[in-house]
Amino acid sequence: MAHVIAVEGDKVWLEPEQTTSCGGCASSGACGAKGIGSVANRLEARRFQIINAEGLIVGERVVVGVREHALLRASVTAYVLPLAAMLGGGIVGQWAVGSDGVTITAMIIGLLLGLALSRLSAGRLLNRGDLTPHFLRRARPGENCHS
């Protein structure tokens, strides 16, 4: 869910609607995470553009989506690649020398290599359009992420 905040030519700027990261949680009233995700500048950082083929106007609420498995691919790229490289570096360090200091250093080098790999992979995903949100439909009145 997102709402239109600006129209620029044939494109619109959308801001995702977010109450809290765990807004749907049954215990959200007592949860320490309440409010952390709703800080305005966090939402501002996640504004995005889509092509305005539907004639959207400022203030309209829309439902947007990404390709199937895009979230999985993105998660693998952002977290699994650096983590695997870091653990791989640790295994090599431990196997080669066997001291904690060398293993930690090898893990840090592995993490940096993993981040570089992650950057390359993210660029490829972006070029394929896997990370681009697409307009699905206009939101129904009162509709939210959990309804």
């Binding site: 977010q18 990261s21 765990c22 807004g23 749907g24 949680c25 049954a26 215990s27 959200s28 949860c31 320490g32 995470a33 952390i36 995700g37 966090r42 950082a45 996640r46 995005f48 990404v66 498995h69 895009a70 979230l71 999985l72 993105a74 998660s75 693998v76 790229t77 952002a78 977290y79 699994v80 650096p82 983590l83 870091m86 653990l87 640790g90 431990q94 904690d100 293993t103 930690i104 893990m107 993490l111 981040l115 992650s118 950057r119 993210a122 660029g123 995903l125 972006l126 990370l131 681009t132 959990h146």
Partner: protein, 193 residues
């Protein structure tokens, strides 16, 4: 080698952080409505738990223990975890802004996920060496992700099930979670073999 494998299996299945230690229950109930989001949350948490546990081990071994600052452990670990989450967020944002826009939603929730602090405290309590600490943290986070995905799959099926009106939503979710915990109790038999 065998002891390391047993340590990981024990951390992931026998002493599962969610179903045996009851940590990280907020995200367990809040982010398991869809398998996709559960996988995303699981991977992000796996990364943060592993990285912050390594940092926590280093802080404990090279700072808190030599200077007898054990009473500052919880506060220090919370600071290290918050820094690890912030580092992850900044890195993902720098490496790929579109990835950050897609996945950034999970990171604030991890900061207050007690499973991250719980794992760090458990590995200090267990007086583990560095390799054991890394494997314990990684195994625990794999167990966390596994349970998140299994529970998300069950909840996706529950939406289609004909549940009595009074039990619909969170109540049937809790009942299913308790049955899942009972099923995981079966793994505890493995530790005596």
């Amino acid at each position: 080698m065998k002891e390391y494998i047993l340590l990981m299996v024990s951390a992931a299945l026998v002493n599962n952080v969610i179903l045996a230690r009851f940590l990280g229950l907020c995200s367990f109930m809040g982010v398991t409505t869809r398998i996709d989001t559960a996988i995303g949350m699981g991977m992000a948490t796996t990364f943060v738990i592993t990285v912050s546990s390594i940092a926590d081990w280093a802080v404990q071994t090279y700072l808190l223990q030599p200077y007898n600052l054990g009473y500052l452990r919880t506060v220090t670990f919370i600071l290290v975890i918050a820094a690890a989450v912030q580092f992850t967020e900044m890195t993902v944002k720098k490496v790929s802004p579109p990835l950050f826009k897609m996945l950034g939603i999970y990171l604030p929730l991890i900061t207050t996920n007690c499973a991250v602090l719980g794992v760090a405290l458990l590995l200090v309590e267990g007086k583990m060496n560095f390799i054991s600490s890394v494997l314990f943290a990684f195994g625990s986070s794999i167990g966390y992700s596994l349970v998140m995905v299994i529970f998300a799959g069950l909840r996706e099926r529950l939406v289609l099930a004909d549940v009595p009106r009074l039990f619909a939503g969170p109540p049937i979710g809790f009942i299913v979670a308790s049955l899942l915990a009972l099923a995981f109790m079966g793994f505890s038999g493995m530790s005596t073999n």
